[in-house]
């Protein structure tokens, strides 16, 4: 039986060697899955990332930008969509997602969106992150409400983190949520010449203090020890996973590392921005899609069995217009697609109520929104994050769950 003094002196029971843990708060951690929220900022063109090659109107709307269907003769095979289900295909730049899809861990939802019709980045993001019909009514975010609502004994300082400078709006209202640029930030900033004297001081002072502050101090010291052993530079992803270079890849890698370290992480938020492809879409998307595809694929491979307790959602505030513009790009639209990755997810499917791309089926030139983003998130909140009351998280919404989670096709 390990006591506090042993912990402070760095003695670990043999069984736990090689993976430091917080040992006197065994219940620290989420009741349900760890939730990773990836926000694809800028309005991702869902039509070109998950290509509806089976809809002939797609090619009518996008004579230049359209991605060739899997079997098209005479076209460059590398540039063809990769078949998913006989109607939709992956853009070749996100080919790495195929593995998770085929393993049944990745579900894609098409023609999904928010009620926001302004097509303004700011308005649409606010609406989506606040989790309401109208961005101006709430000041908390949906994740903030979720973390506040569930009865939780999880007091970990790493309960909710955002990688970046500021907390995203979705986390507004969450007590103790922190924005970190890097896990390396989680350390004592002691002058080098002090040789760790300050660390020794807080260890001594908090080690024998029997108040709630003392306990919190010891827990924080344990966490510091764990974090310092997480060397982000030498971390070796499992199963040969290779994260792409850049902030997104490194952010996902750090989140994976943090999940494995079992420090009580419950929610992690991360952005991949730049999807606003008004001009020269091929180049822009050509740069972003590999990051998305390789990043998510590496995360999935790295966590391996650990994915059973993780759900990751990649969403965007809106999609692009059905038809290409004259600058080889697309302008702001409405519906787009969403990626849902996790061991508990009903994957290997593209979930949709396909509205069609013929001119008379569009809504003011946009792919019609046939599924509300809250239907997917609400189901995840209830079935994966174990919050029995998703209506407190999304107060203005009547749910129609789509069966994106494996715990069954649930009626509302």
């Amino acid at each position: 039986m390990l006591n506090r003094r042993d912990l402070l002196r760095g003695r670990m029971p043999a069984a736990a060697k090689g993976r430091p843990q917080l040992l006197f708060r065994p219940q620290t951690g989420p009741a349900g899955d760890v939730f990773v929220c990836v926000f694809l900022r800028g309005g991702m063109d869902g039509l070109n990332v998950v290509v509806p090659y089976g809809d002939p109107d797609y090619y009518r709307q996008r004579p230049t930008l359209g991605i060739a269907e899997p079997g098209r003769r005479g076209s460059n095979p590398e540039a063809r969509a990769i078949d998913l289900d006989g109607f939709f295909g992956l853009h070749p730049n996100v080919k790495p997602l195929q593995a998770a899809y085929q393993a049944g861990d990745l579900a894609i939802v098409q023609a999904i969106g928010t009620p926001d019709k302004t097509r303004s980045h700011f308005e649409a993001m606010e609406t989506m992150e606040r989790g309401v019909d109208d961005g101006s009514t709430a000041s908390t975010g949906w994740l903030g409400r979720h973390l506040g609502a569930i009865q939780s004994s999880n007091r970990s300082p790493m309960r909710a983190i955002a990688l970046g400078d500021v907390l995203p709006q979705s986390l507004q209202g969450a007590i103790g949520a922190t924005a970190v640029n890097s896990l390396d930030d989680f350390r004592l900033v002691e002058p080098a010449g002090w040789n760790g004297r300050f660390h020794a001081t807080v260890t001594a002072l908090y080690g024998d203090d029997d108040t709630s502050v003392g306990h919190a101090g010891v827990e924080t010291l344990g966490l510091l020890k764990t974090m310092s052993s997480l060397n982000t530079r030498t971390y070796a992803p499992a199963n040969g996973a290779k994260y792409p270079g850049g902030d997104f890849g490194s952010g996902l890698k750090q989140i994976a590392q943090l999940i494995k370290a079992e420090v009580g992480l419950e929610v992690a938020c991360l952005d991949l921005g730049g999807w606003d492809s008004h001009v020269g879409q091929f180049a822009l998307m050509g740069y972003l899609m590999p990051q998305l595809g390789e990043g998510l694929a590496a995360f999935h491979a790295d966590l391996g069995e650990g994915m059973k307790r993780v759900t990751l959602v990649a969403m965007s505030e809106f999609g692009r217009r059905a038809y290409e513009n004259t600058s080889l790009g697309t302008d702001h639209g409405r519906a787009t697609c969403m990626f849902v990755l996790g061991g508990g997810i009903n994957g290997g499917r593209v979930i949709r109520k396909w509205p069609g791309l013929a001119a008379d089926l569009l809504e003011e030139g946009d792919l019609r929104v046939t599924m509300d983003y809250r239907d997917v998130l609400g189901e995840i909140v209830r079935n994966r994050m174990k919050n029995p009351r998703p209506e407190t998280v999304f107060p203005q919404h009547n749910f129609t769950f789509a069966g994106v989670t494996r715990t069954g096709q649930v009626p509302t």
């Binding site: 908390t140 007590i175 103790g176």
Partner: protein, 522 residues
């Protein structure tokens, strides 16, 4: 060629003032005066207080103020706790209103006034603020709250301003809120923080900030918006168990239809719009609120506020929150009852209510632990070390600790219980390190001056010994904590002093005391 030098450049030593050397000339002539107004001096001699248990004077300064400045404990002990509290309960002459919307702040300690003058947005109306970049408006108000808490001589008022800003919370994170919040802080909160609760309630209800934040500005007779009505009863007056029903919420929402914000001419100010008002009698908490038409319709909302301000549930709820702020996370029910009775007896006046609380045995006895929230910790540390600060650098640390002023998104304000703040310890430790080592931009502490005043300069500079190290520890625990550390902690820190290079002794011991568990409690 003389260039025009404006005051701000002169004070900051920037721009034309610096270029022309005017700063050097100006300051050399009145250098001591400038130092006098920017930085209150510490007494030449500071007694080293080594009481083990909590001194009642210390408790008063830790609870009704943001902690003692050097010399405060002796001064208040001499003055007497009752006399000190009476003085604090009637601060200066408070805030006076100039023409309609411009509050005129009467001079506080020069250190406050001097620093606040540099922040233009504090003096602007909502309408004018709408034209200023949002970030500047937000930042300056946050900066001002740090400056006032550190330097104001009216500490109880600053403590109450913080309390009411949480109670009537308006976050800067929602849309246009920052523009309204600056005026709200001055006109609604600061003006009435120690006055009649009904006046405070009325000022918040009419404030464009509240009308915007809780959506009442958009409420009209077709679909009265219930957000404000609900929070008014749940958070501002009766409390969630105060005995109101959903129907009351609907009726109250109806009373407040028409309370809105001007969008033309004097843009950003309160405006009552009779055409939006839902007419007819309303029934609230079992009483009839007579319906009025035209401009008189605004009186319905005022009637509701009258009803709520002196309701017994309001007396109980407010008293409970005040006892939680000043006495313990779980306030003793008997005390809450007595304080509530005083609230009612005084007609809902905050000052006598507080007087009753502070005179109570529960308050004076020293029982009841309260953890310092991050703002308490930062301000107490800056005060104890007589820091010279522009109020900006500490904000970064407050952000990391999770209590950046006015950034709490929900209407209920920052939590006031220890359990909410346990995840802020790492940020507190890093703040302690930064403050002690001069690592906070725009903020400095003169540790050697304190060492001189406490008579341990020789111990700091000279060769070390167990005795001299112990003297240094005692001196700085006295200054920072007002009392001695736990024996084991004091021993450990003495060892730190002994082992450190002379130049590191003071920063190391000060960082250690600021980070110590003892300092995390009020």
């Amino acid at each position: 060629m003389t260039s025009v030098i404006n005051r701000r450049d002169l004070l900051r030593g920037t721009g034309a003032a610096a270029a022309s050397g005017a700063v050097g000339i100006a300051l050399s002539g009145c250098g001591s005066f400038t130092r006098l107004v920017t930085q209150p001096a510490i007494p030449e001699r500071l007694d080293v207080q080594l009481a083990g248990s909590t001194d009642p004077v210390l408790r008063v300064l830790n609870r009704t103020a943001f902690g003692p400045r050097p010399g405060d404990v002796s001064r208040v002990r001499q003055q007497g706790i009752d006399a000190y509290l009476e003085e604090q309960l009637k601060p200066g002459r408070g805030i006076r209103h100039g023409p309609d919307w411009l509050p005129v702040t009467l001079p506080d300690a020069p250190a406050v006034d001097f620093r606040l003058r540099l922040l233009d947005t504090l003096r602007m109306s909502e309408g004018d603020l709408l034209d200023i970049p949002k970030k500047q408006v937000q930042d300056e108000l946050q900066q001002a709250s740090v400056i006032r808490a550190v330097y104001s001589r009216w500490q109880l008022r600053e403590v109450m301003v913080e309390f009411w800003n949480d109670h009537f919370n308006i976050s800067q994170t929602k849309g246009d809120s920052p523009f309204y919040k600056t005026a709200y802080d001055a006109d609604a909160i600061r003006a009435h923080s120690l006055g009649r609760f009904r006046d405070l309630l009325g000022a918040t209800a009419r404030s464009p900030a509240m009308l915007y934040y809780l959506d009442n500005a958009r409420s009209d007779k077709r679909v009265p918006n219930e957000n404000y009505a609900r929070e008014l009863m749940e958070l501002h007056t009766l409390g969630v168990d105060g005995g109101y029903s959903q129907d009351d919420v609907v009726q109250v929402a109806g009373c407040f239809t028409g309370w809105s914000i001007k969008d033309r001419l004097w843009r950003g100010r309160f405006e009552y719009r009779p055409q939006l008002h839902k007419e007819g009698d309303k029934r609230v908490l079992g009483k009839i609120v007579k319906g009025r038409t035209g401009e008189q319709g605004v009186r319905e909302g005022e009637d509701v506020l009258d009803l709520l301000a002196l309701h017994p549930s309001t007396a109980g709820y407010l008293s409970w929150k005040l006892c939680r702020r000043f006495v313990a996370d779980e306030p003793p029910p008997a005390l809450v009852a007595r304080v509530a009775a005083e609230y009612t007896r005084s007609g809902g006046h905050i000052t006598p209510t507080l007087r009753k609380l502070f005179a109570s045995q529960e308050f004076r006895s020293g029982k009841g632990a309260k953890m310092k929230r991050p703002f308490d910790l930062v301000i107490a540390s800056l005060r104890a070390l007589n820091a010279n600060t522009d109020g900006k650098g500490p904000l970064r640390h407050l952000g990391r600790m999770g209590q950046l002023p006015f950034q709490w998104a929900m209407p209920n304000g920052y939590p006031d219980v220890a359990s909410a703040w346990s995840s802020s310890l790492l940020a507190r430790w890093n703040f302690a390190l930064a403050l002690a080592t001069g690592g906070i931009p725009g903020t400095s502490v003169d540790l050697r001056a304190i060492a001189s005043a406490t008579g341990v300069r020789d111990a700091v500079d000279g060769p070390g010994s167990d005795v001299s190290a112990r003297r240094v520890v005692d001196a700085f625990s006295s200054v920072i904590l007002g009392r001695r550390l736990e024996a084991g902690h004091a021993r450990h820190l003495a060892g730190v002093v002994l082992a450190a290079k002379p130049g590191d002794r003071l920063p190391q011991v000060v960082a250690g005391i600021l980070a110590a568990p003892e300092h995390q409690w009020r």
